[in-house]
């Protein structure tokens, strides 16, 4: 045990090596995810990798980390070629990665997770000695976390901090961060990135940050490299580039900011009324602790909040996927329990997050998924019998109108790409002649800009038609763009509410953090 601890101490003193990615290509079957990309991460610099969703940023870093084997190209440390075959290899060279999703084991404590992630730890664990080392480490670490608490009980922000702590504990010299601030409040994000920047400036770390947030990039980053559709699209120093330059390189053309046209609705009527709703998480702890909300026709009410503050459970209650422990929901003045007849009667539609997981049946065809809300009514059914021809025809028409890319209506929906699955769900939920209430949760997660623009315009159009829209999102920019009213959910309660014209970014940020 002793020698392993010593090796970790030794690593601390040297400057990080220069990391070069040279002409890297990665192909998945027919798809070329990465095409001849090169990148240099100079020692002691903070480098950002920019690009929209699907540009190849994740693929690039996974090749560097040894998760994928590149089709061609190489990685060099201080000019020397190194093959990295696995994350273990990468760790040996001092590279660590902080993922967008947590990679800690929920049932194990913070201490157990930290000990576990060390590759050279001994077969038998002497907890007394380990705790001494851990406590010493915590004393000098930028954030403090309780060592004997199971990770499952930590808040999302704390879990993300643990991920970063892990890499510091492992004395990684090169840190790759994949959208690390998506689950942090703006204040926490600044704190984390600021502390990491201090380590970089002191020469302890080089950092490669994947982000799409220009605000962070301009505040903390030295250099950027931009990818577009798997190819290198530009690079440079942050102080030499404007945000408009960066955006243009990401998109390939000058992006005209979309103007949002909102029609006025003179007589708003309350459509959705949430009254004192309480709901629990899967593990029995309370997630929603009494929320009240009214959404009127022809308005978009946005709920902002860091993931894990109860918004997911709230949406599940409204969508009928979770039973509330207290309170009630009214739609059009009547108690609403999300039964199928009530959904049809009150014309309620839902666009959940992760549509393949939450709103689709993977092995069923696109046509059957499109028919999910209508299969038991005429013309798609006669009494108890299903009528296949009307189902197919309806599907073909929706596929055409909404531009869903699929080989045929009979293709299992799991074969489609994420964007097309989202389009399918959109087609199903937004195609009805008469929609009363639309509930959308993170509808644009993981999609490229074109798809995002499309979905935003559909939601706006619905609002302008008079639909009441509840939009729950972790993307503050999206909410600020679309909402008429904005609320913040924090620890299961609403902590902020205001019409969009009076919305104050700083207050929103503070409420998200729970102040």
């Amino acid at each position: 045990m002793k020698p392993a601890v010593k090796t970790i101490e030794m690593k601390e003193l040297t400057l990080p090596p220069e990391l070069e990615v040279v002409n890297m290509t990665k192909q998945f079957g027919q798809l070329i995810a990465l095409d001849n990309v090169s990148l240099t991460l100079k020692p002691g610099t903070f480098h950002a990798l920019l690009g929209e969703n699907g540009a190849g940023k994740s693929t690039l870093v996974k090749c560097v980390m040894g998760f994928y084997k590149p089709t061609s190209g190489e990685v060099r440390f201080n000019q020397q070629v190194q093959a990295i075959d696995s994350p273990r290899d990468a760790q040996k060279h001092g590279i660590g990665m902080v993922y967008q999703h947590f990679t800690s084991v929920p049932a194990m404590t913070v201490a157990e997770n930290l000990v576990l992630c060390r590759y050279e730890s001994a077969a038998l664990i002497d907890w007394k000695a380990e705790y001494e080392v851990l406590n010493a480490f915590m004393a000098t670490a930028p954030f403090k976390l309780p060592l004997s608490v199971p990770v499952a009980q930590l808040a999302a922000g704390e879990k993300q901090k643990l991920e970063i702590l892990k890499q510091l504990y492992l004395k990684s010299k090169i840190l790759i961060l994949d959208e690390p601030t998506s689950v942090l409040t703006p204040g926490e994000a600044d704190e984390v990135l600021g502390l990491i920047r201090e380590e970089v400036v002191a020469g302890h770390l080089s950092v490669l940050l994947i982000s799409h947030k220009f605000r962070e990039v301009t505040a903390f980053v030295d250099e950027i490299t931009i990818l577009r559709k798997g190819k290198f699209a530009g690079s440079g120093r942050v102080k030499d580039l404007t945000i408009a330059d960066m955006a243009e390189m990401m998109m390939g053309e000058k992006r005209i900011p979309q103007t949002v046209q909102k029609t006025l609705h003179p007589d708003p009527a309350p459509v959705l009324q949430i009254q004192a709703i309480h709901a629990n998480k899967d593990n029995g702890l309370e997630a929603v602790s009494g929320v009240d909300l009214t959404v009127n026709s022809g308005e978009i009410v946005g709920i902002a909040g860091i993931s894990g503050n109860g918004q997911r459970e709230l949406v599940e209650v409204l969508a009928g996927q979770r039973t509330a422990t207290d309170g009630q929901v009214l739609v059009n003045g009547e108690v609403y329990r999300a039964s199928r007849t009530e959904m049809f009667q009150h014309r309620v539609f839902v666009l959940p997050e992760e549509p393949l997981k939450n709103a689709c049946v993977p092995h069923m065809s696109v046509a059957e998924n499109l028919a999910l809300r209508t299969f038991d009514r005429s013309p798609q059914a006669k009494g108890w019998m299903l009528l296949f021809k009307p189902i197919r025809e309806a599907a073909q028409s929706l596929i055409k109108t909404f531009n869903i890319k699929t080989p045929s209506p009979e293709t299992p929906i799991s074969n489609l790409s994420g964007g097309n699955v989202q389009r399918t769900v959109l087609a199903r939920e937004l195609s009805s002649d008469h929609i009363n209430l639309l509930i959308a949760a993170n509808p644009c997660f993981g999609l490229d800009f074109a798809a995002v623009d499309y979905i935003h315009s559909e939601i706006l159009e619905a609002r302008n038609r008079g639909v009441a829209v509840l939009l729950v999102s972790e993307d503050l920019d999206e909410l600020l763009k679309l909402s008429d009213r904005i609320l913040v959910i924090s620890e299961g309660k609403f902590a902020y509410e205001s019409p969009i014209a009076d919305a104050d970014f700083a207050s929103i940020g503070r409420s998200m953090a729970g102040h």
Binding site: Q321, E354, N358, V361, M364, L372, D376, L386, S408, G418
Partner: protein, 364 residues
């Protein structure tokens, strides 16, 4: 109207199970050879006992009848995503109820009424038995595989208790049984054959089950819940009611099988009711990939192979457990074949290339 993609998938769905069956027969032959018997003699004996003559084929059909029905006890809930193996328990409960019903009305009702009463009793008893499993799953999240297997043991204990005690026919000395159903009330045989009407029940029920699952709104809702419960909920489908309804139907099929065993084969209820049709029913369901019509065909195949058990014992000296080994082998091979779907290029549709999404941290 089969579209381009459909015929490939149908071909795949038929050829892979057939290949699996053939391969497992091959493995079984190897096993027999290792145990000292000539595999070709084994294949020959099986063929002869199963399909070799009209007499043998009728035996096969007689064995296939309850298999068709009990296989639905696994196949129907499987479409809902549940793995239920309570076929034996439901069969036993159906048999007990059928005997009780039959004996109570036999004195004053014409045969057709007696048989109807027995069938209804079997259906309801089996249905309630497995319906309970479904209810436990929905309301208490109790794993249905474990609970249905436990219910098997409980049903058999009930059978032994009733047959040895309250329902016992004092004249049945060395093998405790209930009073027999009067001969006139027993299920007759199909004209010109020795096969009882239970076979017809089996075929009809399988066809009804197929249409129910594939062609009705109820079946669509069930398949949706089986494919993704969250999607079913978001569409407002009543998952609990679907679960209990499907489980009831599943159990009622097996319960009907129990009635057939009593009314056509044994004429009374005793421990022979528990003749281990149960596991074979599970196997039929899995080989048929839970398709009720395929299950009726597979039941005939498997019924034939199981019928050869005693011949293997007499002619080749292989113990009756040999058939058990065969069932195990088939099951394992068929399960392995599940992983082969989508791997053969000839069955593949033209590709829609799915790029790795950035939301999945680790794609492989």
């Amino acid at each position: 109207m089969l579209t381009y993609s459909r015929w490939r998938r149908t071909l795949e769905a038929v050829s892979i199970p057939i290949a699996a069956l053939i391969f497992s027969l091959f493995l079984f032959g190897l096993f027999c050879a290792a145990a000292g018997a000539n595999p070709f003699a084994v294949y020959g004996a099986i063929y002869k006992a199963a399909f070799g003559s009209w007499f043998a084929f009728q035996n096969t059909l007689i064995r296939a009848a309850p298999l068709m029905l009990t296989s639905l006890c696994t196949a129907l809930p499987a479409r809902l995503g549940l793995v239920i193996i309570g076929n034996e328990g439901a069969l036993v409960m159906g048999g007990i109820a059928a005997v009780a019903a039959g004996l109570s009305v036999a004195d004053f009702a014409p045969p057709i009424v007696v048989q109807l009463a027995m069938a209804i009793a079997g259906i309801i008893a089996g249905g309630l038995w497995i319906g309970a499993v479904g209810a436990l799953r929905h309301y208490r999240a109790v794993n249905e595989t474990i609970s249905s297997l436990l219910m098997n043991y409980i049903a058999i204990a009930l059978l032994n208790h009733l047959v040895g005690g309250p329902m016992r026919d004092p004249s049945s000395l060395n093998k405790p049984s209930t009073f027999p159903i009067p001969d006139i009330d027993k299920l007759g045989t199909i004209p010109f054959t020795r096969v009882h009407y239970g076979l017809l029940y089996g075929i009809v029920v399988c066809i009804i089950a197929y249409y129910l699952i594939q062609r009705t709104t109820f079946g669509f809702a069930a398949r949706t819940a089986g494919g993704n419960v969250k999607a079913a909920r978001i569409a407002g489908l009543p998952v609990g009611k679907l679960t209990i309804a499907i489980c009831f139907l599943a159990g009622s099929s097996a319960g009907l099988a129990g009635m057939v065993e009593v009314a056509a084969v044994h004429g009374r209820a005793n421990e022979s009711l528990n003749a281990n049709y149960g596991y074979a029913g599970i196997l039929v369901a899995f080989i048929a990939r839970h398709n009720p019509i395929a299950a009726s065909v597979v039941a005939i195949l498997l019924g034939g192979i199981l019928a050869s058990g005693s011949i293997l014992q007499r002619q080749l000296g292989l113990p009756d457990a040999t058939v058990y080994v065969f069932q195990g082998l088939v099951f394992l091979v068929v399960l392995y074949s599940e992983s082969l779907y989508g791997r053969f290029a000839i069955f593949k549709e033209p590709d829609v290339v799915t790029p790795p999404t950035s939301s999945a941290p680790l794609a492989g």
